[in-house]
Amino acid sequence: MSQAENIVIRLPNDIGGLAADRIQRTDHELAPWEKRCHALADVLDFRKIINTEEKRRGVEALGSEWVGKLNYYERWIVAFATILFQKGLLTPADLAIRMDEIQKRWRDEAVLAKRGD
């Protein structure tokens, strides 16, 4: 099988039996946004807006480079955004504009908070 075939035929998450290093018993406490992201995934599944299997497929569809470079919940939120675009529930512009608004909101509050010190 050529590399051009293998990279499509083997999903990036299908790693059972592939070469790997020693286990490192890492763990971390979830950041608040990560927990919100996990909760959002559950709510999307309960509502069948994005079911759990769609989420899995969406993460696989990010491709091996993104899967390799984004961490666990980053992969989830990017997958959710893409699936919501595909379903016509949000547009890329909707999301980008709102992200900028939230960032601005945060910065404005931070300025106010500093002034209050």
Binding site: G16, A20, P32, W33, R36, A39, D42, E74, I77
Partner: protein, 220 residues
């Protein structure tokens, strides 16, 4: 080619924020994305304003302590043990542990002849309703790639030696069933209360990578 491109050990946060939820550092890109998606879905009435918040409470309430209670109860009540092995989800529900999703639970009994461990090679399937969220190592490449190929070597890395006359069973979750290992009750616990037994049962014992030990010495 493949082995280092798919870096599934990449679960550390890219952007540190204050651990107790008070943002001192500006939200990172992905946090902005999560917040924006959530706000837009709520505004468009696709999800309710309180649903995510409530689900965070649900998740916070699911910890390995629940699983430990199930194990301790199975160790002390033979009837419950039988029901647990016949239908894991139903037995957990008897104890008030609801399953908020559509998954089923098969409880895998360790004996002096059989040792079970669980893995999800394809993603991170884990019995969340009864154990909470999985540790990073369970979701990372090394465990997922190797547990199905060389379980004995993997167990040894956790400090667990299983003799050759004991059968190792690796369960790889791929669909609707989730697994919980029912560890062997350690010797020397005769007469322990259920509460004291539950204190001995760790998350990693219910994944199957370590046994339950009377003295927590080497178990992490």
């Amino acid at each position: 080619m493949a082995s280092h491109e798919h870096n599934d050990d990449h679960d550390h946060p890219h952007h540190e924020s204050h651990p107790h939820g008070v943002q001192e550092i500006e939200p990172g890109y992905y946090e902005l994305m999560e917040s924006a998606v959530r706000e837009l879905l709520i505004e468009r009435k696709m999800i309710g304003a309180d649903e995510v918040r409530r689900q965070i409470e649900v998740l916070d309430s699911r910890t390995p302590a629940l699983g430990s209670k199930v194990v301790a109860h199975a160790w002390t009540d033979p009837g419950f043990r039988k029901r647990l092995l016949a239908n894991g989800r139903k037995a957990c529900e008897e104890l008030g542990i609801s399953f908020y999703d559509d998954t089923q639970l098969i409880v895998l009994e360790n004996t002096d002849k059989v040792h079970n461990l669980i893995v999800c090679t394809l993603c991170s399937c884990y019995p969340r309703p009864v154990l909470g969220l999985p540790p990073d190592w369970y979701k990372a490449r090394s465990y997922r790639a190797r547990a199905v190929v060389e379980p004995r070597a993997v167990l040894a890395e956790f400090g667990t030696q299983i003799p050759d006359d004991v059968e190792i069973r690796v369960s790889d979750s791929t669909a609707v069933v989730r697994y919980l290992v029912l560890p062997v009750r350690p010797a020397g616990t005769e007469g322990f209360s259920e509460e004291d037994l539950a204190k001995l049962v760790t998350r990693d014992a219910m994944i199957g990578v370590i046994p339950v030990q009377l003295h927590a010495g080497s178990a992490a």
